[in-house]
Amino acid sequence: MSLNTKKLAKNAWRVTKDRHLTCLRIRVPGGHLPAKFFPILQEIADRFGDGSVHLTTRQGFEIPGIALAATAEVNTLIAPLIRELEVDQGVQVPAPEEGYPAAGTRNVVACIGNRVCPQAVFDTTSLAYDIEKTIYPNNPHVKIAVTGCPNDCVKVHLHDIGIIGQVEPIYDPSRCIGCQACVKNCRQVSTGALRFHNFKVQRDAERCLGCGECVLKCPTGAWSRGGQYFRVVIMGRTGKKNPRLAAPFLEWADRETVLRICRNLYDYIDRHIDRTLAKEHVGYIVDRTGYPTFRDEVLRDVVLSPRAKVAGFFRPSGYLYDKSALAGQESHI
Amino acid sequence: MSNNPYLPFRAPILSKTRQTAVDWTYHIGCSLNPVPGQFVEVSLPGVGECPISISDFTPDSVELTIRRVGKVTENLSRLEEADYLYLRGPYGQGFPLEQFAGRHLIIAAGGTGLAPVKSVIRHFAERPETLAGLTILAGFKSPEDILFRPELESWSRSFDVQVTVDQVCDVPVPSPGHVGLITALIPDLAIPSPTNTRAIVVGPPAMMKFTCAELLRRGLKEDQIWVSLERRMSCGLGKCGHCRVGSTHVCLDGPVFNYAKARKLVD
């Protein structure tokens, strides 16, 4: 049996334990799927697979147990889904009936966002589509996630690029009744950026996360929503070497900036990737080039909004898989 | 704007006398001619306003006895003679003195509750012949908390005055002194004719409730008792809503209420 596994993987099919079987991966940008596609998934699973569908952590589907010989036929079946979720959103897919054109850059995941969630400060699905359009199809292994508020339900802190919605709260003292619902709540669930003085509220802009909790709690509309911005955290990862949470890169960045840095990231990777390796994850490239190079190259030609701030240093928390800690004598539990 | 009822007037402090560690009596130069039991809104610009019952008055002054319990009273306590404060009022319904004429009057006051009835006592001290008798029961936490010592002393020369404290210390209690709650004094009171007796009960909510209950046990009817309610009066004008209980605004219909009405106020 002859099979180009590189081509297979690029077409979003897996090499599996069984030499005759493969597994189809379906991208669902932003994790929001029109329900009309479920019959297609079911048909593929029933006719070509083992009748089951796996829900991935990246908000896609994997349909296992498909014969390697059936990939071309199955690709034609998912063409309508690729057309609607990719092509119609502006993604360049040369031949949808031939399946996915790339798999290295992973599905852009997103929390449910403000189409449903009261706490979300923006429409995460729509930004996920815009990012998908900017970065896909592409081969480098990059994970991007979008979340509606700093609760980070989608765990953007475990992504190469994590995008967190921010809203600038606007305060109208003439509508404030001094109930302090915002002050108490900010202290309780967010950063304690609000202070009550002279019967009115003062916001410490340095401390404010832009979570919008004050707007949610205000009974009179004294707090309302100003501009939508984004906090960007970078280079969070899992993996066998050095799992770590992402660290701040930008805050109060506008949408244009977010899309631009996603695009510039690929130029940066192209410039610095170690081509002797089968693949190199972007986080390890940043470890090698250092943060300043990453920052300067990714922000090239970016016009930051007046409010935007760029991190001066990159110091992510994490650890090396260091077996000595567990083999050592220090902990007797 | 004409007739702005929120505008206070400025009035000088003529004198300031310390009553206890936390209570002071101020004489304020102004002519209000209140009814005993009424209150004023006292304010300090930039700090705020609070309701204070008038403890006594002359034609050209009012006496306020103020306990340091909150932000405004804390700041008031720092004022001295010749300083100014700001007043609005008098507000509310006072004690119906005419209803007590010819009766035996029992006044039971707990702590600062003595302030709003002080001018009632003074009124009758000046005309003892208009009452069949006056019994004054004054309860305090400790001898150090006793208010109006000289006045209690002087009233005791004309009337039956009994002072009780919850707990004793080195400071003496005016004779005849008791230890215990006011309610404990009531069963032994001489009440020759319950029907010809009227009572005023002013103090903390629990003290009023139990004292009224004891008086009812001694044969008084609900409508023979008057109380003065402590509520969060704020505007004093029946507008702000803070002191409303049911359809009653304490600042307009009270703070003095007949007990038959007061006991029906469900908070």
Binding site: S174, I177, P219, S224 | P5, G48, L237, K239, G241, H249
Partner: protein
């Protein structure tokens, strides 16, 4: 006088009124809703007829025009007071029947309770005229007809959008303007007459003051006060003194909306607080709206606008609460009758008061 006025002509009319009037109407404030990418329907000054939102209920009521959220009563310096300057223009407010009736309740509370009228409200009130926005059908959760506030006629003119133009019933001194800008057209404003969920009032809800019924609200209410601030008839306020940071001898005294559901409303100096329990606060509010105010002024305070139900983040329904009280009263009466074995006599529910 009935009149049909085209949108452009109404705009002209508004333009002509502008020098003399501040004109307020419910408008769409884009992005100003509580949740992201949502709008707020609130009151603001308008210039054009198309700014007026006819097909939705405003989230906040028009009370803030006559009774601002924050109102400076006076500025003070070391020994002097100065009242704030006021706008000499008259006020024209577009509002619905329930809200117009609500203004009459505010009149009772702020002008006629106690010996002194509230001079700030009085001054604004003397300047205001109303434009009745017709309700051709109810909004979700309204019950004005149950409260008898569905038909208010104290307006300068009424208005109903009709195929890009407006049908009006014109009164008072605006007849001349309408005569010039509109066309005569017989018109009688429509009023809402019935509701999907009508509200039935109990006769004596005070009898249930101590009933365990209220405990449900102790658990559910979060004391946010949204019901108070959206209510067109809640008029409680607190007085606040502030001094300016860089000169504590100069400052101002304000009054600011307060709400009986919010923590601190019934606190006394020294720490005591009445109605700490949220069920007690609910009872206090509900009884005021449907019973205690009426005891004093002869009409119920609640006008049935339904805003409190819509605003409650815990989905507590005022109208459901009132209906439950009525049901409770029914069943208590029925039980009393059954016990007496006398089903024909109406039995007075004994007041349960401590």
């Amino acid at each position: 006088m009935g009149s049909l006025i085209e949108a452009a002509a109404l705009d002209e009319l508004l333009r002509l009124l502008k020098p003399k009037y501040r004109i307020y109407a419910p408008v769409r404030l884009p992005g100003k809703g509580r949740f992201s990418d949502t709008d707020l329907i609130g009151y603001a000054e308008i210039n054009r007829s198309r700014d007026i939102v006819f097909n939705e209920r405003s989230y906040f009521s028009p009370k803030e025009i006559l009774f601002p959220v924050n109102q400076t009563l006076f500025y003070f310096t070391e020994s002097q007071w100065r009242e704030p300057e006021t706008d000499d223009r008259e006020i024209l407010v577009f509002l619905r029947s329930c809200d117009l009736e609500a203004v009459k309740r505010l009149d009772q509370a702020l002008l006629h309770n106690g010996p002194y009228p509230d001079s700030y409200y009085q001054e604004a009130r003397a300047k205001v005229k109303f434009v009745l926005m017709e309700c051709q059908e109810e909004f979700e959760g309204c019950f004005c007809a149950s409260m008898g506030t569905n038909e208010s006629r104290d307006y300068a003119f009424s208005i109903r959008p009709e195929n890009g133009a407006y049908l009006c019933d014109v009164r008072e001194d605006l007849e001349e303007l309408f005569g010039r800008l509109g066309k005569p057209r017989e018109h009688e404003p429509a009023f809402v007459r019935e509701h999907k969920n009508p509200v039935r009032l109990p006769d004596n809800p005070e009898a249930f003051s101590e009933h365990p019924f209220w405990r449900e609200y102790s658990e559910r209410c979060i004391a946010c006060g949204r019901c108070n601030v959206v209510c067109p008839t809640c008029s409680c306020f607190s007085l606040q003194d502030i001094f300016y940071d860089d000169n504590p001898k100069v400052g101002e005294r304000r009054r600011v909306w307060a709400g009986c559901q919010i923590d601190g409303f019934a606190d006394l100096a020294g720490g005591h607080s009445y109605r700490r329990d949220k069920g007690e606060r609910m009872r206090y509010k509900v009884l005021h709206k449907i019973y205690h105010f009426k005891e004093h002024f002869g009409v119920n305070l609640c006008v049935g606008c339904g805003r409190c139900d819509y605003a409650c983040p815990e989905y507590i329904s005022f109208s459901r609460c009132v209906n439950k009280l009525a049901e409770l009263e029914d069943s208590t009466k029925a039980e009393a009758n059954r016990k007496l074995g006398d089903t024909s006599a109406a039995v007075e529910v004994k007041k349960d008061v401590k």
